[in-house]
């Protein structure tokens, strides 16, 4: 492969990974924007989401690579899989908030963050103990359509990943900008106390943020399965750390920033893996995290929400 086609191939790969990280980063950013909380449970909501997606697809009789769908059945199955996964993951996020975080609202210090670490650990180990440690085959219902572009290969699933991510992100953007609840959400991110006094139901806003963030993480989990053709209890940690880096890179609390940050991290991972070495990808991404935090803590595009300290 020539350099230019390698570059093109890695761009295709990076955009797919980036779309997944962006979906995951949005959850971090939404919740941090409102609660100033790094939600570690998000790492494994994503992982659980990928299992929910796997089980949903399996419930349609799909398994491994054996059954290929086309046309309307394919669209229907995919729509159903995304809908069920996102609904279930979103509900999981809401339950986590309601049970473990709401009682800690208003308590200063690291208590809430430690709780999210605990929740994350619980999800991680529930899947480990019940499903097992080995990686599971993720059903792939897509026909093996592929196009050759300038020496690089573009597969149908990559196009699908891009389309789905774009639709979801556009939907979120419209929701945050246009809807009444979205406006309440932005107001709460600026100043929860003032928003409450203006009649915003802050509990509902926080619940919505958790639902949306977790639903997007679930979608990310499904995309992970489609992209890598497997899922495992362990996938949340690395993907979560990368997505968090993406959120920081774009300016945590900043919704469009998280999308761009996600794409950037995906491209960095793909190019780094190709041109440097795969095993150092995390070192590179982590170094970016530290450099951004130290030299430009507001991220590339700045933060929308002011500091509440």
């Amino acid at each position: 492969m020539s350099f230019s086609s390698l570059l093109l191939q890695q761009t295709i790969n990076g955009l797919s990974l980036g779309a997944m990280y962006a979906l995951l980063a949005l959850g971090f950013t939404l919740i941090y924007g409102i609660l100033e909380l790094i939600n570690f449970s998000h790492f494994n909501v994503f992982m659980v989401g990928s299992f929910i997606a796997m089980w949903t697809l399996q419930s349609f009789g799909l398994s491994g690579q054996s059954i290929i769908l086309t046309g309307l059945p394919l669209v229907g199955v995919l729509l159903a899989a995304f809908a069920v996964t996102m609904l279930a993951s979103g509900t999981l996020g809401v339950v986590i908030e309601r049970v473990s975080l709401r009682p800690l609202r208003g308590i200063t210090g690291p208590a809430a963050m430690i709780t999210t670490i605990g929740v994350s650990y619980i999800l991680f180990n529930i899947i480990l103990v019940t499903v097992g440690a080995d990686a599971k085959n993720f059903p792939n219902p897509l026909p093996p359509m592929r196009w050759h572009v300038d020496g690089a290969v573009l597969e149908l699933r990559e196009v699908l990943i891009w389309v789905v991510s774009l639709v979801l992100m556009a939907g979120l953007w419209l929701f945050v900008q246009k809807s009444r609840l979205g406006k309440a959400m932005r107001a709460t991110a600026q100043d929860p106390e003032a928003a409450r006094m203006m009649g915003v139901d802050v509990d509902r806003v926080i619940m919505t943020a958790f639902f949306l963030g977790s639903a997007l993480a679930g979608a990310g989990g499904l995309i992970f399965g489609l992209y890598y053709n497997f899922t495992s209890f362990i996938i949340g940690f690395t993907a979560g750390l990368r997505a968090f880096t993406a959120a920081v890179l774009g300016g945590i609390g900043n919704v469009p920033g998280a999308m761009v940050g996600g794409i950037l991290i995906g491209l960095i991972e793909a190019y780094g893996g190709q041109f440097i070495a795969t095993e150092w990808a995390d070192v590179i991404i982590f170094s970016i995290l530290v450099l951004v935090l130290v030299f430009r803590p507001a991220g590339l595009f700045g933060r929308l929400a002011p500091s509440k300290s």
């Binding site: 100033e36 909380l37 790094i38 473990s100 009682p103 800690l104 308590i107 210090g109 690291p110 208590a111 809430a112 963050m113 430690i114 709780t115 670490i117 605990g118 929740v119 994350s120 650990y121 619980i122 991680f124 180990n125 529930i126 480990l128 103990v129 940690f237 750390l241 968090f244 880096t245 920081v248 095993e279 150092w280 995390d282 070192v283 982590f286 995290l289 530290v290 935090l293 130290v294 803590p297």
Partner: protein, 677 residues
């Protein structure tokens, strides 16, 4: 349950508390030392040795998370660094060719010559275990500083994620740097420690004793540090970073010190751990280990030394003893009742699930942990609560406060200071002078820039232009802690105390810049340090006595439980404890009732009598009138008037700023004695 505990405790109640603690400690030490003798089971002793190693780690993390409030999620990285320092330098991993360079090291017993695989001789590293303990601690501490220096400036929650990343990177580096570490396969043939020519071998008992001694030593170090100037600075940072800086604590330096100390604990423990296992692989130091140590201190009590030890032992033994026992019992029960599920259940793999639940439940229902770091102080007796208020100051003589004020000499000279926040000009070329020994008041409507003026003087806010001279030095551009050391101490408009610390501890933190104790002398506690601590205590009590019997009986109480007025007094006492030459009071009487206001005004007057220079922000004009020699009036960042209280009261600009153009004429005659807020 409390009644049972009380019944058990009753016979011991007569023994004084210090004695009781001593006896408890002695019993614990005896039990720990005798354990391998009365329980001669190698596997169990091994479990105990592991538990002790984890207790050492928990003690180190407790310094970082518990004392200093820095949430470190990658602590196991330092454990790994210590382990690999010893592992590499006492195994056959590295074998450079022999040359005369190595001869001196051979005499020191650090290396040995051995025949190489192909030809000639190569070096075999034979670092002694006992040398490796301090060496690995130093290396880990150095790594802690190198990693902490750029990142410790980050806000708390960012630090958590960065340390998480660091904890992930170190095993990756270990895995990929195979020439140094043998990669994922791990180091092999790490030498067992030797003592007086006897190798420890694979028997658990000697490791157990080393581990127990290490725990004992680290408990001692932790407690000594906690109860010293160092520990107070750490806790001040944890409680309120801004107030800690304003009270003279160099935050970066003390955070780094905490990070390095915690890392050193982990480094030394790594040596012990790898010597005991005689191997080291990258997987022994991953994220689960960092989380496990965090769970231990959360369970035992964040910030509690004995809590960390108890948490570590409990969770380790839960993992290696009790879950196995429970599994065995459930399996027998299953066979007995014919339940296949029960007969084959294995609880041991669910230990991490249990850790997750412990984290969540402790945070939700018992954040202070099993052994809380702070016991609620006993309530004041009825007599103390209802004692007649003594105002203090009568017979007080506070050498070192104020001193000889030279009239006419300028203490503080603010010249043309401008501060802008984006488009807002908070201070516009403000010029202000505070003569020695005077009380100068700054008044002005809300938002006029008074608190910004204080913030720029004390180094919390940078200035865009101007100069601030204190006696003969330019202080603009100095750090907050340096300005305190120069002799300017302040209080805050919305009270920034260290809520979980006692009144006495708060006031002791105020003396931080005047005390010299370093980390080493805090641990060794030489006579000089003991004297310094005694004098610091005495000085703190003397300062508290300024407020009569308001604070003295409450010296041992956490300030979070004090009344509003007493918290204000504590904050003033904390500022005074730093022996300032200039005291900045930001609305000291806000929220006080008229009687309390009058009392405090008298006390401030008393401080002036001692020769202390005071710069005061105050809304209550009667307070200003009684106290101030000179009044500056700020409005929208400009000084609009300056003069004696009487002059200012008649100034038309002032009346307009406070009351508006129309009300000015009507109210002109009455403003003087009213509260203008």
């Amino acid at each position: 349950m409390p009644s049972v505990a009380a019944a058990v405790a009753r016979p011991f109640a007569a023994i004084p508390e210090a004695r009781r603690k001593q006896m408890g400690l002695l019993l614990l030490a005896a039990a720990a030392l005798l354990f391998p003798l009365y329980h001669n089971n190698d596997a169990d002793i091994d479990s105990m040795a592991n538990a002790a190693a984890y207790a050492s780690l928990a003690l180190g993390l407790n310094i970082v998370v518990g004392f200093t409030g820095l949430l470190d999620l990658g602590y196991a990285a330092f454990f790994a660094i210590g382990a690999y320092v010893y592992g590499i330098l006492s195994s056959f991993q590295l074998q450079p060719d022999w040359s005369s360079f190595w001869v001196p090291f051979q005499y020191l017993g650090l290396v040995a010559q051995m025949p190489g695989e192909s030809s000639g001789f190569v070096v075999h590293f034979t670092l002694s275990f006992w040398l490796a303990l301090p060496l690995a601690a130093l290396v880990a501490a150095g790594c802690g500083i190198a990693f902490g220096a750029p990142t410790l400036r980050l806000k708390g929650d960012y630090l958590a994620i960065v340390t998480l990343g660091f904890g992930e990177i170190v095993p990756i580096v270990v895995r990929n740097w195979a020439s140094l570490t043998n990669g994922a396969a791990g180091l092999n043939g790490v030498a067992a420690p030797q003592l007086f020519g006897h190798s420890f071998g694979v028997n658990a008992t000697p490791y157990y004793y080393v581990a127990i001694l290490l725990v004992g030593f680290l408990v001692f170090v932790s407690i000594r540090l906690r109860d010293s100037r160092i520990g107070r600075a750490w806790m001040a940072i944890r409680e309120d970073e801004i107030a800690a800086g304003a009270m003279g604590v160099n935050r970066t330096r003390f955070k780094l010190l905490a990070f390095a100390t915690g890392a050193a604990f982990a480094g030394a423990t790594g040596v012990l751990y790898v010597a005991k296992l005689q191997t080291a692989t990258p997987d022994m130091f991953g994220f689960p280990v960092s989380v496990m140590i965090l769970v231990m201190i959360v369970f035992g009590g964040i910030g509690s030394v004995w809590g960390a030890v108890a948490g570590a032992f409990f969770l380790q033994l839960l993992q290696s003893w009790w879950l196995e026992d429970l599994t065995g019992w459930l399996n027998s029960l299953g066979r007995l009742v014919g339940s296949r599920w029960l007969a084959h259940i294995d609880l041991v793999p669910s230990i991490e699930l249990i850790f997750g639940f412990i984290l969540v439940f402790m945070m939700l229902y018992r954040r202070q942990g099993l052994i809380p770091a702070y016991r609620p102080p006993s309530a004041l007796s009825f007599e103390q609560q209802h004692a007649v208020v003594q105002r203090g100051f009568g017979e007080l003589n506070l050498p070192g406060l104020g001193g000889s004020a030279r009239p006419g000499v300028t203490a503080l000279g603010v010249r043309g200071v401008t501060v802008k926040f984006g488009g807002l000009v908070a201070l516009n070329g403000v010029t202000l002078e505070v003569p020695e020994g005077a009380v100068v008041a700054v008044i002005g409507p809300n938002g006029s820039g008074k608190s910004t003026l204080f913030n720029v003087i004390t180094g919390l806010v940078p200035a865009d232009a101007g100069s601030i001279r204190f006696h003969d030095d330019e202080i603009l551009g100095l750090h907050d802690y340096q300005i305190l050391a120069k002799g300017i101490a302040r209080t805050f408009q919305n009270i920034r105390l260290f809520p979980n610390l006692t009144v006495l501890q708060n006031v002791l933190v105020g003396q931080h810049a005047r005390l010299r104790t370093g980390a080493l002398s805090a641990v060794i506690r030489p006579p000089g340090t003991r004297r310094e601590e005694r004098e610091a205590d005495a000085w703190a009590m003397e300062i508290l006595a300024i407020f009569g019997n308001r604070l003295v009986p409450r010296a041992g109480q956490a300030v979070s439980g004090l009344s509003y007025a007493n918290r204000r007094r504590t904050e003033i006492a904390r500022a005074l404890a730093s022996r300032p030459r200039l005291l900045l009071l930001d609305e000291p009487t806000a929220g006080m009732n008229p009687a309390e206001t009058l009392e405090l005004a008298e006390q401030i007057k008393g401080l002036k009598g001692l020769g202390l220079t005071v710069l005061l922000i105050e809304h209550k004009l009667d307070v200003v009138t009684t106290l101030a020699d000179t009044v500056y009036v700020l409005d929208h960042g400009d000084v609009i008037a300056k003069g004696t209280p009487a002059e200012v009261r008649r100034n038309e600009d002032v009346l307009r700023a406070y009351l508006g153009r129309n009300a000015q004429a009507a109210a002109a005659g009455e403003v003087g004695t009213e509260h203008v807020a």
